[in-house]
């Protein structure tokens, strides 16, 4: 297409005339004048470069004058003089019939469905006032697939194929594909095996976009409740940075509301013996990872040609599994530092347990994560000692909200409370772990001061922040130009990794987060239903929280300093290596038929 000056076309929708840019769809044009055409497959997260418009669900059909059949508004471009009716009798009958058809191949177990209340299909059935389903016939049935993180119940799949787009186009994971055809068509891993036999990274982006209950997370709330009820157990909890800026949404608050204090109060009410913060471990991560970065950099500057640069962050478990599957030849590039969740677990079970005089087996560590891959991370063998995992259970933000509601806690009226000490103290650097670019900014804050011995005048590195898919920035570290790459979304990460493999990468350090937006857009967060303004609000909130912290650099966290003094010695010490670092595995043949 040739570049053209923006051309405007005039169209009439439901009697209202609107001028829109040429190339816009009827759906877009309608939205501009407040007409909300329903759809189940369309998804447009423009800011994140995520678009899915197969035109497959046929819910968004509208009547266009002069056209033989109904037009799918989400993919039909506007034409000058077009006259559109979005709710004529013909349209309403068709839309209703199509939805009835969908429902005729869908289980009727709304009452016990994990998605109930958040299900687009259910809301649409209500919105169209469906009271009975006139079509009876065969219903698709599939084996239920349970993996460490994700449950697939494909009986509930309506073939919107958003998950397929997330898994393939956005994340380039390639675990899912549409298989079979016609009535048998469904989205599934190769050979319709379970997800744990696929290259799935458990990023959970498929769950985030699924309009029905076909894809949900594995619920561990019951195990946590049992642990809390067990008098022999001491149960402690850690909460990830991105949870506090999203949890409020589940209780009707505006997106971007920061609920750190209410959350701590709620967790205490739920009966956790200690309410800690993963942010503490994030500060610890910066100490370890930052030291590793400096180590490699110094060797590099000293002329060591064999040193592996860039160094890649390793806090995101979905990202870790992704490179284990796709870049097994490059396992020595990522930082060996464990993720904050696992550092917290290791410190809790090896340091804190002793401190409070509880046996490892009697200490239960629960994490609240914006993520479902964290559940899988807990289950990785290298993160347990004699079969006892460092982190016992990981709950998603959504599961926590559900848990709070279940416990009859009126979240909105809670008074703010603080985290417990010592593992509850954190800095602003840890908070920003929750969004894309945050880990690397935190690392730079610390690395700069340690490397140069100088104090940073300004801790905000605006050049690193943003929501563009792939960003690069350079930071002047006392005359040395530190080149930084940032990618969120695994498809973007793949590009940076391929550059490294081809020897084209100029970066010294790269931060990667599997989910678009980073953890604020995690697969375990409250459903955003494709609305990117929610992600942006969470993004801003993270930096607000950071700015409000008195200490904003990880190495200044007094409890971190104390931890090294009392227990670990120094960053990257032998004990740190044992407890806080890990190794990676080649998983390219780790899948499929066995």
């Amino acid at each position: 297409m040739r570049n053209q000056i923006m051309e405007l076309v005039k169209i009439t929708i439901d009697g209202k005339t609107v001028e829109v840019e040429k190339g816009a769809t009827i759906y877009d044009a309608a939205k501009l004048i407040g007409i909300d055409i329903p759809t189940l497959c369309y998804m447009n997260m423009g800011d994140m470069n995520i678009k899915h418009n197969p035109g497959g669900c046929r819910i968004c059909v509208v009547e266009v004058e002069g056209r033989r059949n109904l037009a799918p508004s989400c993919v039909t471009p506007v034409m000058n003089g077009m006259v559109v009716n979005t709710h004529s009798v013909r349209v309403l009958n068709a839309r209703r019939t199509v939805l009835e058809l969908m429902l005729s191949d869908h289980p009727f177990d709304c009452l016990v469905c994990a998605k109930s209340g958040n299900c687009d299909l259910q809301s649409l059935a209500q919105r169209l006032g469906i009271r009975e389903i006139p079509f009876q016939g065969e219903q698709s049935t599939y084996r239920k697939d349970t993996s460490p993180s994700i449950i697939r119940d494909m009986d509930k799949c309506i073939m919107c194929r958003r998950c397929e787009t997330m898994c393939n186009q956005v994340q380039t994971v390639g675990a899912l594909s549409a298989v079979n055809r016609g009535f048998q068509a469904v989205v599934a891993p190769a050979f319709e095996m379970n997800l744990d036999h696929s290259p799935c990274t458990y990023c959970g982006q498929c769950i985030s976009v699924c309009p029905t209950g076909a894809l949900t997370e594995v619920d561990h709330t019951r195990q946590v409740i049992n642990a809390l009820a067990d008098p022999k157990k001491t149960v402690i909890v850690q909460t990830a940075p991105a949870v506090r800026v999203a949890l409020g949404e589940e209780f009707g608050m505006e997106p971007g509301t920061i609920v750190t204090g209410k959350m701590a109060a709620a967790l205490r009410k739920l009966g956790f013996n200690y309410v800690f913060d993963t942010d503490f471990a994030a500060d610890l991560t910066i100490m370890e990872e930052g030291t590793e970065l400096l180590g490699r950099l110094n060797k590099f500057l000293a002329g060591d040609k064999k040193v592996k640069l860039p160094i890649l962050t390793s806090c995101c478990p979905a990202w870790v599994k992704f490179f284990e599957h796709n870049f097994p030849d490059m396992l020595d590039i990522p930082s060996t530092a464990r993720s904050p969740q696992q550092m917290f677990g290791a410190i809790a079970k090896n340091y804190f347990a002793e401190k409070i005089n509880v046996k490892r087996e009697d200490l239960v560590v629960v994490s609240i994560m914006p993520c479902v891959a964290k559940k899988y991370e807990c289950s990785r063998e290298e993160f347990s000692t004699n079969g006892n995992p460092d982190v016992d259970y990981s709950l998603s933000t959504r599961e926590l909200a559900q848990f709070i509601k279940q416990a009859n806690i009126d979240f909105n009226s809670l008074d703010d409370e603080d985290f417990d000490r010592p593992l509850g103290e954190s800095t602003g650097a840890a908070v920003i772990f929750g969004t894309t670019g945050g880990v690397i900014e935190a690392a730079v804050r610390t690395a700069y001061e340690i490397h140069t011995g100088k104090k940073l005048d300004k801790v905000d590195f605006q050049q690193i922040r943003g929501l563009e898919n792939v960003r690069s920035a350079s930071v002047d570290v006392d005359g040395f130009e530190l080149k930084i790459g940032i990618a969120h979304g695994l498809g973007n990460a793949r590009k940076l990794l391929e550059d490294i493999r081809d020897g084209k990468s100029e970066f010294h350090a790269i931060e990667i987060m599997a989910c678009p937006g980073g953890c604020i857009g995690g697969g375990g967060q409250p459903y955003h239903h494709g609305d990117t303004s929610i992600l942006k609000a969470r993004f801003k909130a993270i930096y607000r929280e950071d700015a409000g912290k008195t200490i904003r650099k990880s190495h200044e966290n007094p409890y971190i300093i104390q931890l090294y003094k009392e227990f670990l010695g120094k960053p990257c010490s032998e004990l740190s290596h044992h407890l806080l670092h890990t190794k990676y595995f080649d998983r390219q043949d780790d899948v499929f038929v066995d």
Binding site: G55, A94, T97, P134, Q136, M159, G182, F183
Partner: protein
Amino acid sequence: MHLLVCGGTGCRASESSAILDNLKSVLEENNLENEVQVVKTGCFGFCEKGPIVKVLPDNTFYTQVKPEDAKEIVNEHIIKGRKVNRLLYLNPESKEHVSDSKHMGFYKKQIRIALRNCGFINPENIDEYISRDGYEALAKCITEMTPAQVIDVIKRSGLRGRGGAGFPTGLKWEIASKSVADQKYVVCNADEGDPGAFMDRSVLEGDPHSVIEAMAICGYSIGASKGLVYIRAEYPLAIERLKIAIGQAREYGLLGEKILGTDFAFDLELRYGAGAFVCGEETALIHSMEGLRGEPTVKPPFPAERGYLGKPSNVNNVETFANIPVIINKGPEWFSSIGTEKSKGTKVFALAGKINNVGLIEVPMGTTLREIIFEIGGGIKDGKKFKAVQTGGPSGGCLTEKHLDTPIDYDNLIASGSMMGSGGMIVMDEDDCMVSIAKYYLDFTVEESCGKCTPCRVGNKRLYETLDKICHGNGTMEDLDKLRNLSNVIRDTSLCGLGQTSPNPVLSTLDNFYHEYLAHVKDHKCPAGQCKALMQYTINPEACVGCTACARVCPVNAISGERKKPHFIDTTVCIKCGACFEKCKFDAIYIN
């Protein structure tokens, strides 16, 4: 002298064997048996006026001959050399007797353009193609005409896509020619998937060079140097012949660089289909060529703007291409003089089903169904009664008696609730149950639906299930309403042509054979006796002689009875396979 007597089924049913015997004996009486040879032939295809006797070498064509006419034919025509006027074919328009069959309208009804070389040349020999004006059209285009002129000729010819929807070919080429890109593609759709249509296969097997030449002409017109033929893997012979033809064309320099000394370059590649009907839809076809699932995408963008590998691509079907060289050679005016006002030229049909002359025919647009079925097709098999003809495959509908005199073209077929489709024409007789036929096509669509859009994926399944329910005698009046509403919604909301047309078999049978639906629903009867669940085989004790043949053939031992005594069918065991019915020599078994 030769006397040819039609031995086709229709004519035999009207005593043509007696005519044959009588002619022989009259000739013997006159001692002419050595001079005049009497031969039984295959069907003349003119069963309407059968039985037929033809006299050679003067091509005299006698119609509706009775056995007693033998004497007159011999005495008058053979001995005295006078034609028997009253037996000659009467031209319906001029009301004159036509004696020479070559002047009869019937034999002019087929004109072969697309099939011009099929059955005429050796398809594996490029020389034979060249000797029949082959590659002259391409030469003319690239040496004497501009691309715009070629497109103009195609536009003026009025040629419309033969794949089914009938989009004007010249216009399609024009759109593709106007798209700007570094690479464009010419694509030949040879994924003939209609069950019962095989015209594209015949063209590729019989005249592959015509398609190659046409694709090169198209390439020249739209500015494409690459062509792709998407062909069904189920057509090994067509693939083989096409490969040979491409090889020969390359050797002759008619494909490749600098064709005929010009700067025009064009070459072809083959891509294989793998058994998916939906890949006949052009966007699905393109995705399949890209190595993906053959799922259609919404148009626009049309392939002419964004097609194969995102580049402008022009997709035409085999038969469309086969017309191109002739249009260039003989001119658009010649082509547009054939056919109807809006549908020019000829159309190839694969005639099949309960018809005498199953085969491939090519007739001018505007020919009526009656001419095709009764004149060219030789009428209904075994002298049964015509009930319907299905055109357009799973996308088409069933036409009936009342449509027989409608001139066939794109628009008339659509107006009658069917469509041209690729040209399959399946004739049905009184033994065919129209509800079952609709169900058969829905079964096909359900199996071939890609599953991308809801109405086609779930809707057609529900249509099928409802039809099945009706065939089992469990349908309700409400189901009939549901069928119609659901059909309309599927037509209105499906993503691609497959779904949009899939309810046609249901709607057209509902429109034309509502009484058959009613019989199934209200009386729990299948008038054609096809729906097993509604049938019951019974032995008439009066007629049964107790030969035991039925009992022996019954696969489930449902028939009992003593030898030489009337037998009895246990209907609770009977699976209604019909074996006993077919075996009984005494017509003692009947269906109710």
